[in-house]
Amino acid sequence: MTDIVQSLSGSGIGLRQPHYREVFERLPELAFLEVHSENFFLEGGASMHALERARAAYPISLHGVGLSLASADAMAGEHLAKLKRLIDRVEPVLVSEHLCWGGVAGVHFNDLLPLPYTGEALALLASRIDHVQATLKRRILVENLSAYVECRDSEMTETAFLAELARRTGCGLLLDVNNLYVNAINFGFDPVARLAELDAASVGQMHLAGHTVVDDCLIDTHGSLVCDPVWSLYEEACRRFGPKPTLIEWDTDLPSLDVLLSQAAQASAIAQREVAHA
């Protein structure tokens, strides 16, 4: 499997419809553009045309939110086939999915739902990821989740689970620094200790985003600036893992393009500084 992850460095942003025109006019300096794979499971039309224009100017990162790798009963073959067609069309530099399930027994919740980190789940996920990588004929990255509930039956941490998945399947990991921080606050653990469970070579991308505080819970809303503790954790991750392609994720209450570009520039500056010190 070709390791194209290593050929990409720097920061990227999500390409969202309100910014299409400005991005194509300005062509800002970015390492890549990210889109949600499912938004482009279309035959043609304006969205596909925009993605093809973007592809002509930037490497594309396809980020999936609906494959539901961890559904206990079945993973939708049709969804995987649609993803394969999109990959063939766009030739993305990165393809990622989440360590989650989204539906069971034929009903889909279109959310990223948590699971207990058990040996049973590990065996299921490893076989699913083997199947996905064999079908897509490429390595995928699997992302850690933000969660609001914690399973009593977990036998290991999420990061240990991901590290083992990477070892068993050769998949890469997408470290979402905001998700790790959100969970650290929601469940009361030390996020830096969790970074120590990951192997630098397996981390293929990092995500940064904003979250919302509701009562005693941080909610992963992707609708605000990256907060200071998440920047600090990102610095620590850069020291440990080296510079990795990093995405500024912003999906709700979209700001001006310049806000996204400034967040991406801040991520790039941190990555360069921390690597210089390492």
Binding site: W101, V107, H108
Partner: protein, 256 residues
Amino acid sequence: MPELLHFQTDFAAALRERRSTPAMQRWLAGSDELVERRMAIYRANMVAAAEKALASAYPVIRQVVGEDFFHGLAREYQRGTPSTSGDLTGFGATFDAFLAAFEHTRVMPYLPDLARLEWAVHRAYGAADAPDWDPAALGTVEPERQAAIRFHWAPGTAVVASGHPIVRIWTIHQPGYDGEFSVAWDLADTALVSRDGFAVSVNYCRPDDAAFMAASLAGQPFGNAAADALAAHPHFDLGALLGRAISARLICGFTL
């Protein structure tokens, strides 16, 4: 049942029905009260995902009924017709039937047809780009075989007939519309939905043209579609319709 399947089955039940949440207490850490509150976040996400998908497909209905009412519609629709796919592009296909049956929307009898129009627009937006085609190819068909021609309409082309002024309602709710807002409620509009390049357009369609197009879009050969349209509409001008359809690239091929 394997543990992971059991966990997900209970989790799904708790999302679908709040009263099923206590079953999650054996699976999740924390007090009963904490589990209840945190599961409510996921339940809200479930409704929000459905609402976002419906709002994307039905922006006019959302304006017509208002955001708060639309939120309630999305919650009720999702409850009865949950998503079955990680890809929400097809979610909302039966919203018209839901609106026709839902007791609180019966006072707006035009909503189901408006929903069918918006769904046709939604489908047209992501339809395949029409292939290039030279209409001169039609001239090569021998006259005795012309009745067997099956036209290929550009992907996304659709005819939506209604007993209500749905084209007018749709038009005055478009972004940037700056005309006047009166609606003649006794009119019955038939809409022609088509892709003009990457833009989707909605236009009034004459009933006779609509009769031909509906038959032709359904795969009827040219001869049958024309005969049906003429029987119902003696003044149907087939030549004029074909001329317009070909010059607008609505027809982009044929098979014999």
